[in-house]
Symmetry: C2
Subunit: 206 residues, 2 copies
Amino acid sequence: MNKTRQNIIQKSIELFNEQGVVNVRIRDIADALAISTGNLTYHYKTKQDLMHSVYRYMIKTLEEMSIGNQLMMPGRGALHVVRGYLEYITKFRFFYQDTLEIIRAYPELAKSHHQQVEQEKAIIKNLLYRAIGKGEIKGEAFPGLYDSLAHSIWMTLHFWLTQQAIRGEAEDKLEKGLLMIANLIYPYATEQGVGVFLKMQGELTH
Amino acid sequence: MNKTRQNIIQKSIELFNEQGVVNVRIRDIADALAISTGNLTYHYKTKQDLMHSVYRYMIKTLEEMSIGNQLMMPGRGALHVVRGYLEYITKFRFFYQDTLEIIRAYPELAKSHHQQVEQEKAIIKNLLYRAIGKGEIKGEAFPGLYDSLAHSIWMTLHFWLTQQAIRGEAEDKLEKGLLMIANLIYPYATEQGVGVFLKMQGELTH
DNA sequence: GTCTATAGAGTGATAGAC
DNA sequence: GTCTATCACTCTATAGAC
């Protein structure tokens, strides 16, 4: 991938994040890069082509974060993984804020994103079961409860920035998102786990 | 408000729900009603005018539901209020699915919606405190916990249909939303409250 | 109030020179 | 690879007849 193509992808993400995907025209991206629209459409024949490349870049970035590997790292807690996700979502917030709009306009991305979501939920469930194993949270009180909890955590992550934007809140409160997720888990903490939780809460509220 | 204006509002909501606000053109609404676009723009000079009227209708409908009054009704549980909200959201799902898009395109609606959101959250907190009073859930373990819980419940309500659409799930699972909210509250249930919860869960899973 | 016809503004995509 | 110029299309909004 040459320099121009890279620049286009980067600038697209930047503008998408600022203005939303539909409000960014091919011409805006070209102008921001001080190139012509003819040049841009030489590299990406259609806006759909561009979107697909942006999406691929997004997935590649996630893979490089290799959540899975962090998961296996001893000594790094679940909080660290969750924080990584929130940072990722912030970096590609255009996608999380406009997901529906995007998959309506580019339906080919929908299927790919469905898989993405299921993976994310699986990782969260994994983290929960590991926390049970480590004695940080209690066993599942009845079947489906931790499925439901994982779903709630996933929703909180996915819609965190969206709800901020809807409520007209500033976009700099990553810690509040973490705290909310911590609070979802808190009631399931064992006595040992409560200690971990309170320490975490102390860190988050300062 | 005459018949034509009413028809336009109703059909707009119908089409918005099906296709998303930006994908519905003035012409589509006129065609669906078998009237001319000239006629439609005679009644609503701009699309913005139309949106504002649709929004007013939406708020009016919510007021008529008078959540507040149901709240005061003895014998009708919180579950009933939550179900009412989910039904309302389903009826105006275009707004909940495209909230950001809408308030970006029609910024005057943003402020009104901010107030709306704060009211919703206040109602939820109220329900939680009433549940404490009735001995159904425990007292707040530390300050801010039930604020956080109320926020989680609000997010679940607001984004329920959005996450269904994103995940490519069918739109007929109102009970799953209720169950998820019930599960958010479950760990705070008192021994008395657990009974209520299990009964509710039984109803929801059949 | 309702219609037809069309102006006018915006935007994605293309053609052809350099 | 990059540019300028422009086509072709979509959609909102308006004008004027009935």
